[in-house]
């Protein structure tokens, strides 16, 4: 797995979940943390690579980093 520059406050492991499960898990996690907190989402669903950046932009939360991992993607999202 690629090393990321961010230390997440919360990690959501949605590997194995079908779409839109990973994004919905991320949204649930963002709801549960304070502003400024970083949530890491792990997903092996290709659709997430499109859905998560689009949602982050729409919702005003910042996608700090998207890294490809051995088995999918890791998204680091900071709550606005």
């Amino acid at each position: 797995m690629t090393d990321a520059a961010y230390d997440p406050d919360k990690t959501v492991d949605a590997r194995g979940a079908a779409c839109p499960g990973p994004l919905m898990d991320l949204i649930g996690a963002i709801k549960s943390v304070d502003s400024g907190a970083v949530v890491r989402l792990l997903s092996d669903n290709e659709q997430s690579a499109t859905d998560v950046p689009e949602w982050a932009e729409e919702s005003g939360n910042e996608l700090l980093e998207l890294t490809e991992t051995d088995d999918g993607y890791a998204f680091y999202v900071e709550k606005a």
Partner: protein, 381 residues
Amino acid sequence: MTEEIVIVGAGTGGSVLANDLAERLDTEIDAGDVRVTLVNDGPDHVYKPVWLYVPFGKRESADGRRALPQLVDDRIDLQIDRVTDIDTDAKRIEYRDGGAPTNYDHLVLATGSTLAPEEVPGLAEGGYNYYSEDGAEALREQLLSFTEGHLVLSVVGTPHMCPAAPLEFVFMADAWFRERGLREDIEITYTYPVNRVHGNPNIAEWARPKMDERGINVETFFNAEEVDPDEQVITSMEGSDLQYDLLVDIPPHSGVDLIEEAGLGDRGWVEVDKHTLEAEHADDVYALGDTAATGVPNAGSVAHYQAGVVGQRLASHVRGYPATATYDGKTLCFIETGMGEASFVEFDYESPPSPAPPSEKLHWSKLAYNEAYWLTARGLL
């Protein structure tokens, strides 16, 4: 010594499985080598797809209810009680209403979905849903007298039961208001949490043009954060506000607390191997239907097909054979696209859905299946 199989929950998955086992293991049950117990916290089996039609005055909630003893094979021990604790180390369950604690050899969890509208402030007070008997009847009161204004259907939580039902509702409402000459006075808006109108991209791509053709407004990336019942406004975490006159919502869902307390998975969904349906965090525990976190839709057809797989696997365990039956993700749904036409999809883990062209024949097939469902519950269809 009798081998104990306990099924918790007598919805579609639990009932079909119990009847499947009654037939598959009839010899062993009759000989006293196996006992199958089906536990449910009420005396009736409830067929939830009926609720979609209740708000439109087409069906009654009672049409979806039958007494369990009418449906479940006499070989099954039916226990009307609620399970309050599962100890997967001791392989034991406890009951709320006085049933003696039971030791199991094989446990199947089919406890299904519950509604959690309280997770969104104001939702329970401001919205109506057709995801319960009471909810469908309360919505009927509103919908039958709704002649003008803004109807908002908001999908608040996913996963939810019957992923196609929100699309069905707005297609049906559009057609129903048109038939009654009211459509010009009623605006319909559909909101969905992700950037399309359905979680599955193929179904979303198929449905969106139909919504546009029919003048159904769409708001995507709309995750309801709050409802103000006094001002009749629903607000999303993405910053949108929608004023409504009638709010129809698909509330957040969760499983039962029991499952998380037993360490089997979060929010009441059991983490399972999506092919064998065996729990990841306990031995000799299966889950099926909504309860099993497989990623496939929470739909009756899924519970039905999974019940057949679990039935075969349990029979293999009982007889000392390797269990080879697996679930391939098979899902089948009729999708109403109006008041007199419907589509149909069938898909699995490997093959995506491709909705059939809507037709009157498929609409009648859906209604016919809703009647024939009781044969499914009995394990006959």
